[in-house]
Symmetry: C2
Subunit: 347 residues, 2 copies
Amino acid sequence: MDQSISNDVVMSTKAVELHRQLTVVDGLQYPNWNRKIFEQLVEAGVSGVHATLVYHENTRETLTRFGEWERRFDEYSDLIRPVLEMEDVRRAKDERRVGVFFGAQNCSPIENDIELVGAFRRLGMLVMQLTYNNQSPLATGCYEQSDAGITRFGREVIHEMNRVGMVIDMSHSAERSTLEAIETSSRPIVISHANPLFFHDARRNKSDKVLKALAESGGMLGVSTYAMHLPGGGDCRLSEYCDMIARTVDLMGIDHVGLGTDLCQDQPAQTLIWMRHGRWSRSLNYGEGSADQPGWPVQPDWFKDARDYPNITSGLLSLGFQPHEIARIMGENWLDFMEKSIRPMSS
Amino acid sequence: MDQSISNDVVMSTKAVELHRQLTVVDGLQYPNWNRKIFEQLVEAGVSGVHATLVYHENTRETLTRFGEWERRFDEYSDLIRPVLEMEDVRRAKDERRVGVFFGAQNCSPIENDIELVGAFRRLGMLVMQLTYNNQSPLATGCYEQSDAGITRFGREVIHEMNRVGMVIDMSHSAERSTLEAIETSSRPIVISHANPLFFHDARRNKSDKVLKALAESGGMLGVSTYAMHLPGGGDCRLSEYCDMIARTVDLMGIDHVGLGTDLCQDQPAQTLIWMRHGRWSRSLNYGEGSADQPGWPVQPDWFKDARDYPNITSGLLSLGFQPHEIARIMGENWLDFMEKSIRPMSS
């Protein structure tokens, strides 16, 4: 008997059963965290989430974000647990909780101090983007007009991230910088949340060249459900999305594709303004939006909120993916990748 | 009767008399400030100094540097005074004191916050470099391999510096970034301390193209006495140096050339390490030095310390410069330029 999980997407019994067995890991989220969202994640069978800690926050503010998570781990201990090793995600699944690990969408936490890489890694920052849309001291963001690649400081930081086991994320970076990061890094890197350019032509999406280089070096792509990264935005259908995953797997190989939904559930408009403007601009910037559509985009009906992960399992199954392939895409790839990537090089 | 001012450079009575009448302004210094150096500056007839406040210091640390200067203004009130308008330099001359105004050699004081431009301008930071050798969030430094020009944040900051009357300094920037800063800025900018490339081929020196664009836009070059910027280093002769000034005046016009000695008197080796490494690198960087010459370079004998300004007056006179031209180069150009440049645009 089929049952409806949410949003009128009908799940087969087989899909429901398969989803229940998966260890689901999302390669990037930034919801407005609260009990409801954690409950929805547990309900949706999500065991691991890469939670964005900061966009433009500096060192001092990043510490506050860590402190806020300490309070959440206390307040919502029935629903969430911190992830310091990937085994914690397996434990979370057994406990019907969500394991949370942290990443920064920008290098602003380390400011101009290479020593802060090790300090934040120790605190549990497992991933860091070298740029967020703009030029950073390390690399160029995807909204700059010109890309000079990895900088002097950038090379130093990449080596340091390699050493301590902090994953380099180039989701919001420009192409040359991304290719140079792949080449400069001695360990595989990630694009935690973006889609291929062949799927939808957006500044944040990535070329075949980048995706191939990423896969060849052992890296990971997390595919995004953010409407701005989808053809037709919120009108994009689940079957189109899953077809994109199939084509991306053809391009990169089954081991190099995971989820990176970029779910920004329940965020107010002011969060979008912070993401787009930080404190760097006095001009109005629409980012991926426009004057006509300045706010949060409407999500597709098959991925409206944190309850909707089973829909992707269902869509992949309908398209003909095998259960073991679906398991890789829905979480096992992230687990394997993170497990080896966060180990310090000396150990 | 000729007399020797210092270091065996013989000054004519005419040169001594001319120097006494000048209002001397140095477009950039970074000595290890103490009573002796202030006394030497007074003795050398220097009335205005652009003092480097920071190299890599962040917002918090920059405030400490300002506080340290508050203590100096108190402790050495017989020798120095703060400069909040250029009339303060004239007053300093009348009082036989040195007027001190501030600049940052990097954009590190504002971190990622455009609002800090106005705050630091109010505190007395009259000049700020957009980069110091490396890529910054604003522009590219002269030691990077690739130069992408002025960034998104850079354009915003340039407009803000224009608005509040903070002078843009591209001394340590790469060529494309410098040309784009000249073009982006609605007010003339400076290269406060560097020499022309035609004089000595060093990464920090500037091409004819840059110097012409700078002059055509109404900007200023401060010529450097730092040994690394001189042909033959410390062996460069005063006559060669003054000939370079003459050629630079031919290129840029008499109103666009001043001093920017880059005097780093009595600084310990650890200051050089801070300048070269900040907190961005774990590798060894020699900056303008080399493995053979890792430390401070030996200064030419005609500009060993803060007593030696009269030698430049003497050298310019010997070369045939007219007294009114020498007055412009030795200080009046900086006074005129700064006077109009630090006025807020709204006033």
